[in-house]
Structures are given as C-alpha cells and as structure tokens.
Amino acid sequence: MIWVDTIVQGILLGGLYALFAAGLSLVFGIMRLVNLAHGDLIVLAAFLILTVVNLLGLNPFVAALIAAPVMFAVGWLLQSYVLNRVLGDDILPPLLVTFGLSVVIQNGLLESFSADSQKLSAGPIEAASLPLGPITVGVMPLLTLISAVVVIFALNQLFYRTKLGQAFRATSDDAVTAGLMGIRPRNVFAIATGIAMVVATIAALYLGIRANFDPSIGPARLIYAFEAVIIGGLGSLWGTLAGGILIGVAQALGAAVNPEWQILAGHIAFVIVLLIRPRGLFPRAND
C-alpha cells in the first residue's frame, strides 16, 4: 500500500512540474526557443502575486488574476524587443541572452526583495486533504494536477481549434511561408510568449502556496521543467504532462528508498528515457 501511496504522490508532484513546463513547452514548440530564464520568470510572477496580496490584502488566487495580464505584457515586450532579435539558425544567441536574463532577474529580485524565504498564504485549504480509497491526498497537490491538466487541455484547444492556434502551427512549421500568407511571425511569437507567461503565473501561484520560495530557486525548478519538456518530446503538450509525471514519480520512488536520492532519481530517469528515445516519448516536430 505504501508503494501505491508513493506513486500517487509522485503523480501529484508531476502535476506541479508539468505546470512549470507547460509555458516552456509552448514557446519551445512554436519557435524552438530555449528560454533559460523561464524558471526565474516563474519566480518573478510569484513575487508579483505576493506584492498584490500584500498591497491589496487579496487571496492569492484572486491576486493571480491581476498578476496574469501583467505577466502577459512582460512576455509580449520581452519577445518583441529582445528575443525576436536573436531567433535564427544559430542556437547560441538565444541561449546566451536568456541566460543573461536569468541572472538579471534573479539578482534584481534579490536586490528588491532580499534573500528571505517567502510564501503565499491561501488559508485552511493548504492543509486540507481528501480520503481517496485506501490513501489520502492533499487538496492542494490534487488541485495542482487538475490545473495542469486543464491548462494543457486549454492550450491544446487553442492550438488546434482556433485561428490563433492555426497561426501558431503555421509559423512553427514554416515561418517564411506563414509570412507570405499574411501572418506576422514576430507578432505570433510575442503573443505565444505572453500566453506562456500567463501559464507561468499559474505555476507561480501553486509554487508559492505549496512551498517557500526565494529569488534564487528559479534554476532548480527550471531543470525539472526542461526534463519534462524534453522527455515528453518537442512540441507535444500532453507529452510534457507525461514527462512531468514521470519525473515526479521517479523522484517520489527515489525518496521512498532514501531521502537523499529524490532529485538524483528524477535526473537518472531523464537520462534513461533519452538513452532509449533521444527525441523523447511523443515527438511531434522533426528536429
């Protein structure tokens, strides 16, 4: 029974990682941009929610509704004025620019909010739990997983059922031809990054409620998100969810054997999957 419990906890943890990874996966799938600052942008969103909570005395869930459009604007501006300039065949410039951005955001937050641990307080729901057959699950972890599924379902609907999604897919397949059809790739990219930042805000909400955060934790979260995206396969959002859950389960199993092995087990699962399938579990695109 302990094993069932461990695996369920792992799946729930995977929901959080999938949420971290969903925005990354979207941007990666559409413009092949590896955003090394994604983790720090999530932390930035968490501090933004915290600021709104402190200023207006709102519940974090409501505060996130205010933070989300702000983050959309941040993503839109970032893509329009910085990242669009470095997209191209050479992968070095975008990697280095987002790397620089990561350092700037991290230390900017450190200067303005200090290195103290912060937490978003959501009230009694934090400690609530549900009996689920023989095991008990926390309401917050369950809510996180459900949110991850909803976010990924919504992104998929957007991708395959709307005009905007059509533009996304067209630009992803061939930006030049899409341009000939009257789509402006730079505009499409800016909107995509804006949406990714809205998803990052949702991730930040759960990050902040479920654990302490400080300006320096971005990269540590980012590495799990990247693992989820890469294991899942480029451009597949459901693959990202599967990847997140795989990492979560591996970590939970590792921790059950020896608490020191939690993180290590996740990384090793990542390596094993890629040794067997270098392009991930469900690759959509051909690169």
């Binding site: 090394l36 470095v86 410039p93 620019v97 790397f99 350092v103 700037v104 200067e111 890629l274």
Partner: protein, 343 residues
C-alpha cells in the same frame, strides 16, 4: 602610417612584455595581488576551454562545473585518501575529468542544439549529487585539505628560500605560476589546434556541416575530441583552484554560477569564437567586480545586461569590435592564400 601587419607585430611584442611582467608578480607584487591574479588566471583557463567548446565546436555546455568539481574531488581524494603530493594530484584531477567526460559525451552527444545544453546541465547535477554521497570526502558537507598540505607541497621549500617569503606565500606563488602556465599553454594549444588540419575541419563544421562532411570531415569525432580535451583542461583547473581554496564541498565545487555562468559571460563579453576574446573578457569581469564590489549583487546584474547587449548588437564581443576597428589580429586563425593579394 603603420600597416596592419606591423601593428600586429607591435601588439605581439606588448603581449610578450605583459607575460614577463606576470611571471614576476610573486617576486615584486603583494600577496593579495598574487591571489587576485590567480583567480583571474583560473577563470581565464575555464573561459578558454568553454570558448573552444561553444565558440568553435558549437557545443554549448552549461555543465562545465562537472569537470571543475570532479577535478577538485579527485585531487582531494589523491591527497587525503592515498597520501599523494598535491602536484601530481592535479594531474589526477585532469585525468578524472577526462574519464568522466566520456560517459557524459556518450549521453549528451545524442541530443542536439539546445537539448545538449540541458543534457550537460543535468549530467553535472547527477555528478554533484553522487559526489555528495562520497562519505570518505565528507559527503554533502565536504572536507578540508589536512593542515600544512600546501606548505609541504613539492617545490614550495625551494620557492620559499628563493624569494625569502613565508611558506604560505610560497605556496601561493607556486599555484599562481601553475595557473599562469596553464593559461598560456591552453591559449597556445588552442591556437595550434585551430591552425591545424583538425582545427580547420572544426571551423568548417561550424560554418557549414554538410559542406564539411562532403570533404571528409567527421563532425562527431572532432567534436568529441574537443569535448574530452576541454574536460581535461577544465579538470586540471578545478584541481588547481581547490588547492588554493583548500576546502571542498559539493555545492562549491559544482557551482554552476562560479564555474559556468561567470565563464560564459567572460567569453561572450570578450568575444566568443575569437581566441583573445576570453582574455579581454576576464579583464572586464575583474574590473567590474572590483569597481562594483560595494554594491552586492549589482555587478551580476550589470554583467548580465552587458552580456545581453553584446549578444544583441555585437556578437563577436569586445575583441571582435576591436579587430574590426583597428585591423589588429593577435593569433589570427585565417590562413593566407598562396596567391599574394594586393593590400
């Protein structure tokens, strides 16, 4: 009006003078200066190696801290567990890093482009977490070199007598000279390698993989060679660094910020894909660090912003701008064509 080639000769003369001055720093300079320059030189070695990977072989690694860390730990293992003198233990560090690079290359070379960067990062994390399980060297908290190890190091008594300084100052001088030697050898080895047939192949790959393949260049073999060699250099440097630091812990030895982030900025600011770039970058880095020392992490923000601006507007960095403006080339990589052209 000087021609470009006479300007280049002049600047080569200046370079030689600077090198001579650097050799004599432990004789005439203060101990603090020796220690500062030691850190600058070791960062330079790391940057030269990373530049070789990312700038010339197209391998953007974010996991070089794996090799710094394993170099440091192998050196500590040699000294503490097997009673070696620290100097041969430095070599052990380099060799250990080289061996570690083989499985890492086996895994990461299957991933292309950006996946490769993440793969190296995860690999470094795996090594860090595994080393933290090595209880004989202190596990997660780390350990220190036994007291007096560096004072009894091979060569230290002679330097002590020669310069008439304390044992610790003599040890500083020795590690400093080793760092200087390593930096010069790395720079020259990089130059010789890039001018060689293999180096030419490497640059051909960078410019156009298909074309390079069609004339018989094997990209995988060449890139793997660069990866393994730069792991060796990075491991040596890691071992040397931690002789000076004298205390090792997984978090310090495998720090992504200290051994990879700084190194990336140094290379990018100086000029990625140019040989003198890292030298320029490390000077800028050092000056920034000193000038902004009183403002906490502000220098990191400034460093990040400069890196971004350089990538957006001047991809070949400060050295690239300098070469373009003045026509001066140190360590030129271009081969003169057989037919003399008018200049």
């Amino acid at each position: 009006m000087m021609t470009n080639s006479s300007k280049s000769t002049l600047s080569r003369g200046i370079t030689a003078l600077v090198f001579l001055a650097l050799v004599f720093v432990p004789v005439i300079g203060s101990r603090a200066m020796v220690q500062d320059l030691f850190m600058v030189l070791t960062l330079l070695v790391l940057a030269l190696n990373w530049n070789m990977l990312a700038g010339f072989a197209g391998l953007v690694s974010v996991g070089q801290q794996a090799f710094v860390g394993i170099g440091a730990y192998a050196m500590f293992g040699g000294v503490i567990l097997w009673g070696w003198d620290p100097l041969p233990a430095i070599l052990l560090g380099g060799v250990a890093a080289m061996f570690l690079s083989l499985p890492i290359a086996f895994f990461t070379f299957r991933l292309n482009g950006a996946y490769f960067a993440i793969g190296t990062w995860v690999s470094a994390e795996i090594v860090r977490l595994s080393v933290a399980q090595w209880k004989a060297l202190g596990g997660g908290t780390g350990t220190s070199l036994p007291k007096g190890t560096t004072k009894d190091m091979f060569g230290v008594p002679q330097i002590k007598d020669l310069l008439g300084v304390s044992s610790s100052a003599a040890a500083d001088a020795l590690t400093y000279w080793l760092a200087l030697g390593l930096a010069v050898v790395t720079l020259l080895a990089g130059y010789v390698f890039l001018r060689s047939r293999m180096g030419l192949g490497l640059q051909a790959i960078r410019d156009n993989v298909e074309a390079a393949r069609s004339v018989g260049v094997d990209p995988l073999r060449l890139k793997a060679l660069v990866f393994v060699l730069s792991a060796f250099g990075t491991g040596l440097c890691g071992a040397l660094l931690f002789i000076q630091i004298t205390r090792v812990s997984p978090d310090a030895a495998f720090s992504v910020v200290d051994w990879t982030a700084f190194v990336i900025f140094i290379t990018v600011i100086g000029g990625i894909g140019t040989l003198p770039g890292p030298v320029v970058g490390v000077l800028v880095f050092y000056i920034l660090q000193r000038v902004l020392a009183d403002y906490g992490t502000v220098y990191l923000i400034v460093l990040g912003l400069i890196g971004i601006v350089i990538m957006l507007f001047a991809r070949k960095g400060l050295w690239g701008m300098f070469t373009e403006k003045t026509g001066i080339e140190l360590l030129p990589l271009r081969h003169k064509s057989l037919q003399r052209s008018e200049r």
